[in-house]
């Protein structure tokens, strides 16, 4: 067995390399810096280019530029850097430019706690666009998942021509653990669909709203017209044209239409269990242990770890909810960010949040919260 010790951050970088990432631009920030360092060390020798940017705004702008030129691109940051990237992130979404951002969360608000984990960036990551467009977010709980979900993030970014976030945190990113290379489930690599060089190229051309426009790179034979302003399918700035509204609807529809296909989750359901525990990212680890402890104590409980946080994996959720009366959602933030987002899809069931900031939620705390609810 090829077992080795690896951090989550290291595995994000390896996942990016395995997915075919050719361009990386970064700026130092704890707890994401290791991804930047690995890419700076390893990308050039593999035929790619990694670069130090003067700030996070430039980092993402460089990645978007490189992606427009035709390269798979990624950057990595944490909350304070993400705050600076949001302008360019929206530009990538509007211009249908594939790019992956690894967001290794730390305790906020503001500069917060650089070396403290947290799951407080779910809303800031998902709801960062004017118009509230659905942004695919994958959230790993282990170093192995860091590798696999980074590959999925690239694949979906390329396939749907959209920015995708990989949301981990300090505890997932900077903890070293045993990785068995032979057990890594690397998905097949997806490339963006290219314009076939016949017929008329339209930068944002689509036949149906949910279709993804064929890509032609800046610098190629087909004339490309990129714009972050409201535009028609040819990339012309237009005001009050019905086609512009169609393009905007298309940005949302192409994501929604692939929601079920994008849905990745780890499930451990117990038939007939009236309880479902939902957790993601770092807290899913404590949750898995808590589930084992609760079952050992004779309690029936099902478990769902959405690895795709957005689009919300509705089908998986519905399946996991069958027969469930009470839903517990454990996450390391104060206000139950993912719980609030899930709430409309829980069919009026009783929902209990298990929340904490400043330290990991422990299995014992989850067990206690579940038992306390049962005792009511």
């Amino acid at each position: 067995m090829a077992r080795r010790l690896c951090s989550g951050n290291r595995m994000v970088a390896e996942g990016a390399l395995a997915a075919g990432c050719r361009f990386f631009a970064g700026y130092p920030i704890t707890p994401a810096s290791e991804i930047y360092e690995v890419m700076m060390r390893e990308l050039l020798g593999r035929g790619g280019l990694a670069l130090s940017a003067p700030d996070e705004i430039s980092s993402l702008c460089y990645c978007v530029g490189a992606s427009l030129r035709g390269l798979k691109a990624m950057t990595a940051t944490s909350g304070p850097g993400w705050a600076l990237m949001i302008e360019t992130f929206q530009y990538a979404l509007m211009t249908e430019t594939p790019v992956v951002i690894a967001l290794v969360a730390r305790l906020g608000p503001s500069t917060g706690g650089a070396t403290q984990g947290a799951q407080g960036d779910v809303w800031l990551a998902e709801f960062a666009t004017s118009g509230g467009y659905t942004v695919p977010i994958f959230s790993p709980s282990t170093a192995v998942e860091c590798f696999e979900l980074t590959m999925h993030a690239f694949n979906w970014s390329e396939r749907l021509r959209t920015p995708v976030l990989l949301l981990s945190d300090k505890e997932v990113g900077m903890t070293t653990e045993v990785v068995d290379d032979e057990a890594l489930a690397a998905p097949p690599i997806v490339e963006r669909a290219r314009f076939a060089e016949d017929g008329k190229f339209r930068t944002y051309g689509f036949a149906e709203l949910e279709a993804v426009p064929a890509f032609a790179e800046v610098g190629g034979e087909a004339k490309v017209a990129v714009t972050g302003s409201a535009h028609d399918q040819e990339g012309r700035l237009r005001k009050n044209a019905p086609e512009v509204i169609e393009v905007l609807k298309h940005l949302q529809r192409k994501i929604e239409a692939h929601a079920e296909e994008m849905a990745l989750a780890r499930t451990d359901l117990e038939a007939g269990s009236p309880r479902l525990l939902i957790s993601y990212g770092i807290t899913a680890r404590a949750a898995r242990q808590a589930v084992a402890d609760l079952r050992r104590g004779g309690m029936r409980v099902s478990f769902l770890q959405p690895q795709t946080l957005f689009p919300i994996p509705r089908g998986t959720l519905d399946w996991a909810l069958a027969g469930v009366e009470t839903v517990f959602v454990a996450e390391e933030n104060l206000t139950g960010q993912y719980r609030a987002v899930l709430a409309p899809y829980l069919g009026g069931r009783q929902v209990v949040g298990i929340n904490k900031i400043g330290a990991l939620i422990s299995p014992a705390e989850i067990v206690q919260a579940v038992r306390a609810e049962e005792a009511r």
């Binding site: 090829a2 077992r3 080795r4 010790l5 050719r22 361009f23 631009a25 704890t30 060390r41 390893e42 050039l44 020798g45 593999r46 790619g48 280019l49 670069l51 940017a53 003067p54 700030d55 705004i57 430039s58 702008c61 460089y62 990645c63 530029g65 490189a66 427009l68 030129r69 035709g70 390269l71 691109a73 302008e87 360019t88 530009y91 650089a114 070396t115 900077m174 903890t175 070293t176 653990e177 045993v178 290379d181 800046v218 610098g219 190629g220 034979e221 004339k223 490309v224 017209a225 990129v226 714009t227 972050g228 990339g235 012309r236 700035l237 404590a286 898995r288 330290a359 990991l360 422990s362």
Partner: protein, 446 residues
């Protein structure tokens, strides 16, 4: 007919606006260079200047967010060096407002010396939004936001980018008949080029100021601006050259997988074990913990390691939290440590502050340097002369070895395997630390 500017183009600018002149001169410059249209990427900023995209039907166009056009163009140019046949020429059209908000992008593009040409249309104000002041507005100039005249001196972009090692810098008036020649020279330059073009904004600049073409020249003279003489430093390597050099010198990437450790039998751990080792920065605390994790790995166990230190890295405490288990490890919190190892006063202070010692149980083994004053705590204390017998640099590893002699978890052969995988010049030192630890465990009172 021009392959560049559409012959029937209706220029969307106010009468007398300098932008119209620049657009025509840019088209002429491209004609002079005979560049294939698809080898040019016109990257435009926000503002009236950003309306140029639609005027050039055959060029690639990228219309961007405010001030970022230079950064997007830089990203395109950076990526272009990876293409064997790459010869893209990004041209950025940006105003004085965009130059201000995106100043860092100009500075970095100059430092990188990427093949990007930036045309800064300096009409001293924000035109599209109503004539507000910018960082390039001259003193006493009246704008919508400096109604009594501007009192902050304007930024000298040429001087600033000279300090950033820009390869090609020039200033021109939009009305200069030879502007096309200068723009052509800038685009032909293989690295970063910036041309600041002084213009009239006929909507606002001339409305509030006694401003004519000759007055514009007076303003330029007043600022001490030299016009029309490009300064170049062709001897500077371009980004393409620098990266070729890097590629040439870059060694094969280090192997993704570290040297594989041989599998060792004999691990005696049957349940999860949680250990904290704490000491001082620079005393190899975290690397000692890393060796333990590796030894556990060699013995077929699961291991996690989390390090912590003050933000300054090089001072104060240094600690590692280790979980070992025969099963995959989920939760990595240190709610109730099984083993605590304290090798210095910094480490003791931190473990007291973060509550680790208070959370110890009666059966928690606490190995501590003999000189430290142990606080009251539930754990079972074993004091060893770690820093006296081992050096401070070896104390953490010696302590781990002592603990392993007292309560074996990882077989000695696993440590041998780990040492065998270390660089030979480190091996003896580590072996010595392990030997001292084992001896200390044999005679703790020594």
């Amino acid at each position: 007919m021009s392959e560049y500017l559409a012959p029937d183009a209706q220029l969307p600018y106010c009468r007398g606006c300098g932008h119209a002149s620049v657009v025509r001169q840019l088209s002429r410059a491209l004609e002079r260079l005979q560049l294939p249209p698809r080898s040019v990427v016109l990257t435009t900023d926000i503002g009236c200047v950003g309306l140029a995209d639609s005027l050039f039907p055959y060029l690639h166009t990228v219309h961007t967010t405010h001030g970022r056009s230079t950064a997007f163009a830089t990203g395109i140019a950076l990526a272009d060096v990876l293409f064997e046949q790459g010869n893209l020429k990004p041209v950025v059209m940006i105003g004085d407002g965009g130059a201000m908000i995106g100043l860092i992008h100009l500075v970095h593009a100059a430092q990188l010396n990427v093949d990007v040409t930036v045309l800064v249309h300096n009409n001293f104000l924000f035109g599209m939004t109503g004539g507000q002041h910018s960082a390039l507005t001259p003193v006493e100039f009246v704008t919508a936001t400096t109604p009594a005249g501007n009192y902050t001196p304007p930024l000298d972009l040429v001087a600033l980018l000279r300090a950033a090692h820009a390869g090609f810098l020039a200033r021109k008036f939009a009305t200069d008949a030879d502007l096309d020649a200068l723009i052509a020279e800038a685009i032909a330059y293989p690295g970063f080029a910036m041309v600041e073009i002084l213009e009239l904004c006929t909507a606002y600049g001339t409305r509030w100021n006694q401003l004519t073409g000759s007055k514009l020249k007076e303003i330029a003279a007043l600022q001490g601006y030299a016009i029309g003489k490009p300064e170049t430093s062709l001897e500077r390597p371009t980004f393409r050259e620098m990266i070729r050099h890097q590629q040439h010198n870059s060694h094969a990437p280090p192997p993704t997988q570290p040297a594989m450790l041989p599998h060792v039998e004999g691990a005696t751990l049957t349940t999860e074990l949680r250990l904290v080792v704490a000491g001082s920065a620079g005393e190899r605390v975290q690397s000692a913990a890393g060796l333990l994790a590796k030894a556990a790995l060699a013995a077929g166990l699961y291991a996690t390691q989390k390090n912590d230190n003050p933000v300054t890295q090089g001072t104060g405490f240094s600690l590692s939290e280790i979980c070992l288990s025969p099963e995959p490890i989920e939760y990595t919190g240190m709610d109730s440590p099984d083993v605590v190892i304290v090798v210095s006063a910094d480490g003791l202070k931190e473990l007291t502050a973060n509550g680790t010692l208070a959370r110890s149980r009666a059966d928690t083994l606490v190995v501590m340097d003999a000189k430290l004053d142990a606080p009251a705590m539930p754990g079972r204390l074993v004091k060893l002369p770690l820093r006296r017998r081992a050096t401070p640099q070896r104390a953490a590893l010696a302590a781990l070895a002592a603990w392993q002699a007292l309560a074996p978890v990882v077989p000695p052969a696993a440590w041998d395997a780990v040492l065998g995988a270390m660089p030979s010049d480190r091996r003896e030192d580590l072996a010595e630390a392990l030997r001292i630890g084992q001896q200390l465990a044999g005679s703790p009172s020594d």
